[in-house]
């Protein structure tokens, strides 16, 4: 029986909770790197959509060089233009600060001429500074409201500690994705924000699936196992699903990334896919290695579960053969008699 088959049958025996210090340290290290990158880089490279400015892109039939474009911008009186050639010089992008309409017009004429284009061939994105700030602010508001709403929803549907663990995993994913942007200096555009929001969705989706399983397993084994053991068993059972899901998602996003960067050079897609790819990878990791162990750690601190652990450990000293615990029968919990029972707490009378 090879690893793949064990995974497929949910028979792996990874100790997700016991080794949590390793996972937590890895995450802390990554988050630390993110913060360092943010400090060193002096924040993120915000695109003109957030800071205000003009971006002109187009094909470059005249094969103009960066210097040619620079000459045009300087002649128009625009300092500090960012000029890039894309697709091996077949296209270009010129970015400047926000301009008044007349200067913009002159600049566009100049750029069209030097790159061998007619004006309609140019693509233009001009954003007033206040509007960019508005988009950014609205996105942040949406994010905060979303987090609050999700916390409430998950508390209602699952429980508070699960909601908090889920949000922690989410913040973890967002931080890591931000870290990649800080580290590489890639431009943060509205597409990036869209991608981050998608990651929120995926990350929560993944975590919810894992937690649903834990909730169900608690109902099934809650009176025989410690919380950590329940979590471990649930995780090993859903591991195959988590990996399969992540793989399918990464395949679709990977194809956006691949097509975007190597085949067609569509920069919007590229921005989007990079954030998504990193975020998805992070969210797969975090729902398994951050959310669930964190939940187990918190739940173990509850008096009832701590008591359960002490009892089971005491029993183990007497009868080491019981170390394996009751044999997990995957799926048995789905039998109608326990399936729809609400997650029972460990018996209270023995708790104190």
């Amino acid at each position: 029986v090879n690893l793949w088959q064990r995974l497929n049958r949910g028979e792996t025996k990874v100790d997700f909770v016991g080794k949590r210090q390793i996972w937590f340290r890895m995450s802390m290290l990554a988050i630390g790197l993110t913060l360092i990158a943010l400090v060193i880089r002096g924040g993120l490279n915000l695109g003109i959509e957030f800071e205000g400015g003009v971006s002109v892109t187009g094909p470059n039939p005249a094969a103009a060089t960066v210097e040619d474009f620079r000459a045009v911008t300087v002649a128009t009186g625009v300092e500090d233009a960012v000029i890039q050639l894309i697709n091996d010089g077949e296209g270009f992008r010129v970015q400047t600060i926000a301009l008044d309409p007349e200067t913009e017009d002159t600049l566009l004429d100049g750029i069209a001429e030097v790159s061998g284009n007619e004006r309609p061939d140019l693509s233009i994105d001009a954003v007033g500074p206040s509007f960019g700030a508005l988009i950014l602010r609205q996105s942040l508001i949406a994010l905060v409201v979303f987090l609050l709403a999700v916390t409430l929803f998950m508390t209602w549907r699952l429980e508070l500690k699960m909601a908090l663990a889920g949000i922690a995993a989410l913040v973890h994913d967002l931080l890591l994705t931000t870290g990649v942007y800080a580290l590489t200096g890639f431009e943060v555009t509205p597409a990036t924000v869209v991608a981050l929001l998608t990651i929120l969705g995926y990350s929560l989706y993944d975590t919810v699936v894992v937690f649903e399983k834990i909730r169900e397993m608690v109902g099934q084994y809650g009176d025989r196992l410690t919380y950590s053991e329940v979590v471990n068993r649930s995780m090993n059972l859903v591991l195959s699903r988590s990996l399969n899901t992540s793989l399918t998602s990464l395949l679709t996003v990977g194809s956006i990334l691949f097509v975007g960067s190597f085949v067609l050079g569509a920069t919007t897609l590229e921005d989007f896919a990079l954030a998504l790819f990193v975020g998805l990878a992070a969210s797969t990791y975090s729902s398994i290695f951050v959310a669930a162990p964190l939940l187990a750690t918190w739940k173990e601190k509850e008096e009832a579960w701590a008591h359960r652990r002490r009892k089971i450990e005491a029993k183990l000293r007497v009868d080491p053969a019981a170390a394996e615990g009751p044999v997990a029968k995957p799926g048995a919990g789905a039998a109608p008699r326990v399936a729809n029972r609400p997650a029972p707490r460990p018996p209270k009378k023995r708790a104190r």
Binding site: G128, L134, V150, R157, L158, P190, V194, T248, S255, A334
Partner: protein, 516 residues
């Protein structure tokens, strides 16, 4: 079995047939400007502008853009609390269209008070004054408690000799460097630059105008026309009766000045720019120009014709009730739009193909069922977008396409959650048939919770965000709802039916085989 089979066939026919029917009738999803090329503009009104005022402004903008012409299917809509989104697909001269839409169009007729030939320069009014300023600073003593501080300054006297000095008087809203009015207010004096023809030559000139006598609302109608006798383009203004009186008064005042005097001129100002500043002609009597008609004269070239038409359009539909700021202009060339669309579709196809291969390798017969399910999902999605595009004007933007690609992942996940669940049940000792039933109950709860979180996010984003994020949220929300529907209407039946075929237990493709 029969009932479920009929249900399944019905779902398939509805989904595939529906989208086929729509596409055959030419109803396809409407593409956003970033996918087909075009210009989209976000105009922002001052914060706190009334919804009603915005609606009024949008009406005026629509009328104007139709008048100016040259734009196919312009879309102008209020989006957000104080922004108006203008979408102009395939427009040739976007600058002109934008001017027609966003220009406030505030017209005023004003008396000219003074005119100075020459270029822009600091505004100086030379006056001869004789001033003597004497400043005397005395001694001040402050005593607090037992300490006494005495500060003493010798009395100083500043005297400026009588003689000509230059004082600069700057009216408010005038730029001290150029000496021109920065923000024009019809109720105040203004210093405006214009070009005048002097002895057959175009000469720059700065004119000083008084407060407006007539404004745009005094104009009943404006009709562009060609005056063949002078070979010039003109806009004939039809004034309201009140406007006619005001105009008569304005011109009557002007004729009191000699013919060469600048004060005999009337300035026609549109949004702070002098359109024309003609003098009142010699043959006008003391009662001024009566009859309620006025004319703005342009040159004779094709450009002048365009200008005459644009100005007439601005005047005819009146000024916008608020001044808009152009917050974002995004112009996507047709080729870039096509490229993005191609890239999006290609990425979608490749992603789908990879997911399909993965599903078949993992889940065999159930994988095939999932893939058919993905086509059902895709068909409904296309149909919904096509219908919303046709009847609600919803467009699918690049952000929306990415939202859809993302939802492929979520949909595929619904199958994975369900199928894994079924496998678990079988391993737990159930028969394939009962596992298909039981697994659905368990999996549906999970899918419901997870989809609800996605949906929650999509709805919040849709209402709270602006710009591209909105399009993404909408696509994701619609896709999530369709996913829930497909899971209930299709997946459940299909897997259940599969469990009732020989593919349930026997052969390497069977459901049971996937659990080995």
């Amino acid at each position: 079995v029969r009932r479920r089979l009929i249900g399944l066939v019905l779902v398939l026919v509805l989904a595939w047939g529906g989208v086929g029917l729509l596409l055959a009738n030419g109803i396809t999803p409407k593409l956003g400007l970033d996918l087909q090329g075009g210009t989209s503009v976000v105009l922002t009104a001052p914060a706190g502008t009334d919804e009603e005022v915005l609606e009024q402004a949008v009406e005026i903008m629509r009328a104007r853009i139709e008048e100016v012409g040259g734009v196919q299917e312009p879309e102008i809509a209020i989006s957000g609390s104080n922004t108006v989104l203008v979408q102009l697909p395939g427009v040739e001269d976007e600058q002109r269209a934008l001017d027609a839409i966003g220009q406030t169009g505030q017209l005023s007729f004003r008396p000219v008070l003074d005119a100075i030939f020459g270029d822009v320069g600091p505004l100086v009014t030379t006056t001869t004054t004789s001033t003597t300023t004497t400043t005397t600073a005395g001694t001040s003593t402050t005593a607090t408690g037992d300490s006494t501080t005495t500060s003493s300054t010798a009395p100083t006297t500043t005297t400026s000799e009588p003689g000509p000095t230059t004082t600069t008087t700057l009216p408010p809203n005038v730029d001290p460097v150029t000496g021109l009015t920065t923000e024009d207010d019809p109720n105040l004096d203004a210093y405006l630059q214009t070009i005048t023809s002097f002895l057959g030559q175009a000469v720059p000139e700065v004119i000083h105008v008084g407060p407006a006598s007539l404004v745009g609302s005094d104009v009943a109608d404006a009709i562009p026309g060609f005056d063949p006798s002078r070979a010039l383009w003109v806009v004939n203004l039809d004034l309201t009766s009140e406007g006619a009186d005001k105009f008569a008064e304005l011109t009557a005042n002007a004729v009191t000045f000699p013919v060469d005097s600048p004060q005999r001129r009337i300035a026609i100002v549109l949004d702070g720019e002098v359109v024309a500043s003609p003098g009142v002609s010699q043959d006008v009597g003391a009662e001024g120009i009566t009859g309620g008609e006025a004319q703005i004269t342009f040159g004779g070239s094709a450009e002048d014709e365009q200008q005459a038409r644009d100005v007439a359009a601005l005047l005819r539909y009146g000024s916008l009730p608020v001044a808009f700021e152009r917050s974002q202009v995004q112009k996507v060339s047709a080729t870039l739009g096509e490229d993005s669309l191609r890239a999006g579709l290609l990425a979608g196809y490749i992603g789908l193909a990879l997911v399909a291969i993965l599903l078949i390798v993992y889940y065999r017969a159930m994988g095939v069922v999932s893939i058919i399910g993905l086509t059902v999902f895709g068909s409904i999605l296309v149909a919904v977008f096509a219908l919303l595009g046709e009847y609600q004007g919803l467009t699918l933007t690049l952000a929306g396409v990415t939202g859809v690609i993302v939802s492929i992942g979520i949909t595929a996940d619904s199958y994975i959650v369900y199928i894994e669940r079924v496998k678990e049940e079988i391993r737990g000792g159930r028969t394939v048939r009962s596992a298909a039933d039981e697994g659905f109950k368990q999996a549906f709860r999970t899918i419901l919770t997870a989809d609800a979180v996605s949906l929650l996010g999509a709805v919040l984003l849709f209402f709270l965000s602006v710009g591209p994020v909105k399009g993404f949220a909408l696509a994701l929300g619609i896709a999530t709802l369709i996913d829930l529907f497909v899971v209930r209407a299709y997946t459940r039946r299909a897997i259940w039916l599969l469990a009732h075929t020989p593919l349930a237990d026997r052969g390497p493709l069977s459901i049971r085989a996937t659990t080995q």
